[in-house]
Symmetry: C2
Subunit: 396 residues, 2 copies
C-alpha cells in the first residue's frame, strides 16, 4: 500500500541497507576491530571543543524560549545568518546579507528546498558522474529528470563538451559538488570559468535561466593548499548549499544553509519561495540550538590533518599494492579503479577480507569503488595487510 | 522562475507573513508590551530544567562522534526509540517496539514523511474543518487531494455523517488532530469508536486500506482531567505523528516521531518506506542531540497549569465581554465566533487595538478567529481592556 514512487525509492535503497547490515553482521562475528568499514561518510574527527563550550554557555545565558523556540522567520535566526554572511564576505570577497541565507536541515535539506523551489515536473537537472547518488532521489522528489554527464575517468574533472551538448531548453539546474563525493576531485578555477561561459551562452541561446547549485559539504576539506573556487563569483545564477556535517563534524545535528545571492535571476522570489519550501516540507526551521552553535563557532575548523594522514596512508598503501586511483585533493574519499570490469565482484571479494566498500555504480560510475577514509587511522593501517591479500587475487 | 507549485504555496503563505510583519511594525511603533500578539502557536512555558541538565550531562559523558554523528538507521537511535516505545506501552497499554518508531524532524517532518510514503498523485486525504492549514501544503507536496469535512460549529466534534459520505475508493488517509488546533476540542472516546467503525466498514466496502493519521503535538496539553484516547487501540490502520514542540517546549529543535504499529496493514513496508522517505526528503535523521534529550527527559512534563490559567482568564474575559466561544479542553487556542460574518473585518478591527489574531478561513472555517493563548499571562490581562473596546464596536 505504499506509494508507487516510494516502491522505487525503497528498491534503490536496499543496497546501502544491505551493506550496513552486513557490516553489523561481520562486526558481531569477527569483532568490530577486525572489520574495515570504508562504506560511510561519517566523520571520524570529533566536533571542536568550542562546540561544547558554546552549548554550555548558551544553556547558562540564553532564554530557553528563544534558544529552543521557533525562529521568527522560517529562514532562521537573522543574527546567525548575518554572522555567516559576514564570514563568507570576508573569506571570498562576496557581498551577501542575512537575507541571502536560509538556514537548512543540513545540505540534504537545503538541496530538497532549492529543488522544490525551482523544478517543475519534467525539468532537467544536470549532474556530472560520478555523483552523490541521493541527487537521483532529490530530483525525483519534484518529478525532475536527472541528466548525467558521463565520467571523465582520466582525471574526473567534468566533461564540458558533453555538458554543452546536453544542456537543453528544459535544463533548470546543474548540480556540482566540489570537493567531490566520491572522487575527492576539486574543480579548478579554469574548469569553473569554462563551465560558467557555457552556461551563459546556453542561457542566451534558450532564453532561460539555468541555476548552478553548488553542493559544498566538503568545502573545508581540501589538502595540499588547493583553492576551492567560490562559484557565485564566476556565474550569477549560482546557489550554494552548505553543511556543517563535515566542517564541524555535526552530521547528525542537521545544520547547514543555502545562499541565494542578489545577482541570481529572480533572487527575491527564490528567497521567498525557498523560505516557504523550508516550512512546508516539514523542516519549519533548522534546529535552533545548532544555528546558534554555528554563530558562536564560525571560525572553528575541523582537524583536517587527521584526514590528510589517512589520505596519504591509504592512497600510498593501495598504490603500492598495484591498485589504480587518482590522488584526491579534497573530501575524504578515494575512488579506486576496480581490477575487474564488474566492480560488484570486487566489492564482494573485498568482503571476504572484512573490507566494506561501495560500488561505483551507486555514483553513476561502474568499474570503480569508493572508499571513505574518514575512519580511525588504525583502521587504515590494519586494513593494509588485508588489502594486500585482496590485491593478491588480481595482481601477480 | 520558481516552480508553478511554489507560486501557489507562496501566494497562500503571504497572509501569515503579512501578519508577522504587522506584529513587528506595531511593536516598533507602540512597544512590544502594548501589542497583544495571539497569532502564533509558540510555547511560552520554558523547557523543563531537566532538558538543560540532560544536555550538560551528555556533553560531559558522551562521545561527540556519537552524540553529533549520523544515526546508524535513518529511523534514529534504537535505544531512544525503545525508551519512547516503553513509555507509550506503559501509558497506553500498547505493545510497540523500537522498530515501530521513526524519529522525525518534528510533527511537520513526520507528516511529510508518512504522506510521501502513502500518497499517490490523486489520492484523497480527508480532514475535518477547522484544521491546521499546513495539511493543505503537506498533501499537495505529494499531489494528494485534501478533502475537507465541513465544520460542526455546535461543538466542533467531527461531522461523522458527512465523513462517511465523503470516503471514497480514492481515500488513502484521514488526518485527525486532537486536542485540536485551532479549536482546542478533544475528540471523545465515543467519537473515535464511531469514526473507527465507519473506517472499518468503508475499507470493506472498497477493499482498500485507509490510514488514520493522528497528528498529536497537543496530546499532553489537556485540561480538566479530560482523557485523550490513544487511537491505535481503536483502529488498526492508525499511524501516530508526535512532536515535543509543545510537550517539552522544544519547537525550534525539531524533534518528534512517527509510530507505525505492527497492526497496520503492510506495516513492515510502510516502516521501510518511511525510513527511506525520512532520508531522501533531506531530514536524514532527526537531530541527534535532541533525540538523546528525549530519552533522558521521557518523564518530564511542561507546566500546563500556566496555559490553564491563561485559558480560564482569556475564555472568561471574552465571554463576559459578549464574545461567543466553546471552552477548549486542550491545546492552547480559543476559536472565537466573529461578531461579523466576514471574520477578516473583525481581524482588521482587532488590529486597531494592537490585537493580532488569525482568521478562521486559514483553518477552513470562516466566520471564526483563532487566539493562541500560549503567551505571557500579563499579555492576557493587559489585553482584556482592549478587547473591551473592541467588543464595544459590536455589542451594545
Amino acid at each position: 500500500m505504499i506509494s508507487n514512487k516510494m516502491v522505487n525509492f525503497v528498491k534503490n535503497s536496499s543496497a546501502i541497507r544491505a551493506m550496513f547490515e552486513e557490516g553489523n553482521r561481520l562486526a558481531k562475528l569477527y569483532g568490530a576491530e577486525n572489520v574495515f568499514d570504508f562504506s560511510l561518510g561519517n566523520p571520524n574527527v570529533p566536533a571542536p571543543e568550542a562546540v561544547k563550550t558554546a552549548i554550555r554557555e548558551m544553556l547558562d545565558e540564553e532564554d530557553p524560549l528563544v534558544l529552543h523556540g521557533y525562529t521568527n522567520s522560517n529562514a532562521g535566526y537573522e543574527d546567525v545568518r548575518q554572522v555567516i554572511a559576514d564570514s563568507l564576505n570576508e573569506r571570498f570577497g562576496t557581498s551577501f546579507q542575512a537575507k541571502n541565507l536560509i538556514m537548512t536541515v543540513g545540505a540534504a535539506g537545503g538541496l530538497n528546498v532549492i529543488l522544490k523551489t525551482l523544478v517543475n515536473p519534467g525539468d532537467e537537472v544536470i549532474t556530472f558522474a560520478p555523483y552523490f547518488g541521493e541527487y537521483r532521489s532529490y530530483t525525483a522528489n519534484y518529478d525532475g529528470v536527472l541528466v548525467e554527464i558521463s565520467p571523465n575517468t582520466e582525471d574526473f574533472q567534468p566533461k564540458l563538451d558533453e555538458f554543452e551538448q546536453k544542456i537543453s531548453a528544459k535544463t533548470k539546474a546543474v548540480i556540482v559538488n566540489t570537493p567531490n563525493n566520491p572522487t575527492g576531485v576539486v574543480y579548478s578555477e579554469e574548469t569553473i570559468k569554462k563551465m560558467a561561459a557555457i552556461l551563459e551562452a546556453k542561457q542566451k541561446e534558450f532564453g532561460t535561466d539555468i541555476y548552478l547549485i553548488s553542493d559544498e559539504p566538503y568545502r573545508e576539506l581540501a589538502y595540499d593548499g588547493v583553492e576551492v573556487p567560490y562559484l557565485t563569483k564566476y556565474y550569477a545564477n549560482t546557489i550554494v548549499g552548505y553543511s556543517y556535517s563535515k566542517s564541524l563534524s555535526l552530521p547528525g545535528e542537521r545544520i547547514g544553509y543555502l545562499v541565494i545571492p542578489d545577482e541570481a535571476a529572480d533572487s527575491e522570489d527564490i528567497i521567498s519561495a525557498a523560505t516557504v519550501a523550508n516550512r512546508i516540507l516539514g523542516f519549519v526551521n533548522a534546529p535552533t540550538l545548532q544555528q546558534k552553535v554555528i554563530a558562536k563557532c564560525i571560525n572553528e575548523k575541523t582537524d583536517i590533518s587527521y584526514y590528510d594522514r589517512n589520505r596519504e596512508t591509504l592512497y600510498n598503501g593501495l598504490k603500492e599494492l598495484g591498485f589504480s586511483c587518482i590522488k584526491p585533493q579534497g573530501a575524504f574519499y578515494l575512488f579506486v579503479k576496480s581490477p575487474v570490469e564488474n566492480e560488484k565482484e570486487f566489492v564482494a571479494a573485498a568482503k571476504k577480507y572484512n573490507i566494506l566498500i561501495v560500488p561505483g555504480s551507486s555514483f553513476g560510475c561502474p568499474g570503480y569503488v569508493r572508499l571513505a577514509y574518514c575512519v580511525a587511522y588504525e583502521t587504515i593501517v590494519n586494513s593494509l595487510p588485508k588489502f594486500k591479500e585482496l590485491a593478491g587475487e588480481y595482481f601477480k
